[in-house]
Amino acid sequence: MPKYGMVIDLNKCTSCQACVTACKLENNVQIVPIEDAINGRAMFWMKMLTMEYDGDYPDIKPKALPRNCMQCDEPPCIKVCPVRATYKRDDGIVAQIYPQCIGCRYCMANCPYTVKVFNWHKTEQPQEIEKSYNPDVSVRPKGVVEKCTFCVHRLQIAQEKAKAEHRGLEPGDYVPACVEVCPVSAILFGDLDDPQSDVSKASRDYRAFGLLEELGTVPKVRYLNAIESEE
């Protein structure tokens, strides 16, 4: 059984937010009205975080960091869920069961990365958006919690396709939307358990770190630190 993971190279990332947009469209994440967005209810599974600023004003260099669900190997969210609406699959993906969720938001309170988003209410989506819904992903009803699933529907499709072609799943068959769309290939994705895979090699790079690793959550999304070249 593979263990899916992701490595995001901050040296390559240009903060273009293509991954943010691709994720939103791929997963039918609700577009909320502007008032709600101002009140902190904007819904993103992949989000750009401004981590810190380098340099003095006016020569500021903000450091941005694309943040999706860390797919922790020791997820704090599943420990507290009272109804098993979130659980860890055998392949390491932390999945959500929307029809099971009672909307208590305990998992949101316990996520140190604040990655989970809640469907505060159902709003009418722009007509153009409704036409471009991804039929592979269920549209969440109001009152449930949702988050990045590593585009698990893509894994299902890839598995079925491989089965129909009488072959095993090969690396590259299954990649999430953010990985696919990244114009500078800053995001690597694959099997962390396979020592030969790119993602596994990158995860052991000297620049590699996990976000809030010290909490013991064992994130399966890792980052390669941005290091200035000495010119």
Partner: protein, 454 residues
């Protein structure tokens, strides 16, 4: 002696059941209106979703959870205090226990509903029972609150039976209801013995259940990784806070009903003095816990922890934090440790301050932690919406209405225990005195001296 002859002595206690003044109806109308507005707004929330609240992304738990912790805290007034006073054979408990138990029953029902109000999908509430995960602290909470509610309702009902029998024997209003509820109680020695035994078992049982309830509520927060919540003393800290706010609520209720129903002869200054002392002790204990909690956080100086700490001390929540310190520590300690101020008005003021302060404490524990996530997020400001405020007002109204309704059906002071006190307390106290006084004492002599003293 039959029940019919015994009635007249404590007629004041029966009076509220049979006589209702104009003010009662006016107050009932006002509180019903507030309550109905709350219900209306809740139905609106059911239809539109939790978007009608002011909650947002980092602050995902807010007013409803604050109120939940607050109300469950108040519920510790009752059963716990009543059980402890009964267990320690405090003679002065007799006119207090009933009101304390009623507070528990009503507030627990209200508080227990708050997590359901807070659910995004209340229609799926049965999932908790059908496929609940016992590993989740939320399920421990469901279990312990249900157990506490069951135990405290029975604990309220059992000592009520002899009083219901008194009401049944008087006949008239609602005779059939009392006939059913009295369960054929006639006050025979066997019945009395069985009743006392049942009360004794329950009062011992109810204490650990009550402690567990608030410990588990604290653990909902304590079991998370969040700064400001992940603390080992949260369990006892919450229990202390719960008992503290409970005593304050009990004092307010006692003072209000003493005035409204003319219970001056039953609830004397001394009762308030004793409970006031208990409130003072709890105030100091609460302050000690708060101090220990924040001092350790401050010395550890973890960055995430410090963000929450300074948010409370001099950030956005500083006004609430210092108001809480004033309400929970400065004001009650000044009033209750000063003999001249420790009179009814002073005690009432201290109690109201404590109730407000304890609500603020829950607010201060819950929101600053959520508003300061570990990663740098653009955090919006949480402002409660009208729905959340109205539902809090509705919950308070439901409490008042419940109490008013109860007072029209059953006596608010345990009549049979008062009577029993008159008949037996001198004998019991003298027997106890003889047991621990040094030297040998004659039973008759001690009792006679005691009687003479009274």
């Amino acid at each position: 002696m039959t029940y019919r002859d015994m009635n007249d002595e404590d007629e004041t206690l029966f009076k509220p059941i049979y006589q209702t003044g104009k003010n009662f109806y006016i107050l009932a109308a006002i509180f019903s209106t507030v309550f109905l507005i709350g219900i209306g707004l809740y139905i609106r929330q059911l239809v539109l979703g939790l978007g009608v609240t002011g909650m947002n992304e980092p602050v995902t738990w807010a007013f409803y959870i604050v109120d939940f912790v607050f109300f469950i805290g108040i519920s510790h007034a009752g059963t716990l205090i009543s059980a402890i006073l009964r267990l320690s054979k405090a003679e002065w408990r007799r006119p207090i226990t009933r009101m304390a138990e009623v507070i528990t029953g009503i507030v627990l029902a209200i508080g227990g509903l708050h997590p359901i109000i807070d659910l995004g999908r209340p229609d799926r509430i049965m999932h908790l029972f059908e496929r609940g995960r016992l590993q989740s602290p939320l399920l421990w909470d469901v279990t312990s609150i249900t157990a506490y509610f069951t135990a405290s309702t029975i604990y309220l009902y059992l000592p009520l039976i002899p009083d219901i029998a008194l009401l049944r024997d008087r006949g008239g209003k609602l005779e059939n209801l009392y006939k059913i509820l009295a369960w054929g109680y006639k006050g025979t020695p066997e019945q009395k013995h069985a009743l006392e035994k049942a009360i004794n078992i329950l009062m011992v049982m109810v204490i650990p259940i009550a402690v567990s309830v608030h410990t588990i509520i604290a653990w909902i927060f304590g079991m998370t990784l969040q700064p400001g919540w992940h603390s080992t003393i949260f369990g006892p800290y919450f229990v202390v806070g719960a008992i503290y706010s409970g005593i304050a609520a009990l004092l307010i209720v006692m003072i209000v009903f003493r005035k409204a129903y003319h219970f001056e002869d039953y609830l004397k200054e001394i009762h308030f003095q004793y409970l006031g002392t208990l409130l003072l002790i709890m105030s100091l204990l609460w302050t000690y816990f708060t101090f220990a909690e924040y001092l350790t956080a401050f010395y550890g100086h973890e960055p995430a922890e410090m963000r929450v700490f300074f948010y409370k001390f001099n950030g956005g929540y500083a006004p609430f934090f210092w108001l809480m310190v004033f309400c929970n520590f400065i004001l009650p300690v000044v009033i209750l440790s000063n003999r001249r101020l420790k009179k009814l008005p002073g005690i009432l003021m201290a109690s109201i301050a404590v109730v407000i302060g304890m609500w603020l404490e829950r607010l201060i524990i819950i929101i600053p932690t959520l508003a300061n996530p570990r990663l740098p997020y653009p955090t919006g400001v949480y402002i409660p919406s009208l729905t959340e405020i109205s539902l809090f007002a509705a919950a308070v109204s439901a409490f008042v209405l419940g109490f008013m309704g109860f007072s029209k059906l059953f006596p608010l002071i345990s009549i049979w225990e008062i009577k029993e006190g008159r008949l037996q307390s001198v004998h019991e106290v003298s027997a106890r005195l003889r047991e621990y006084l040094p030297g040998r004492h004659d039973e008759k002599q001690v009792e006679a001296t005691l009687k003479a003293e009274i």
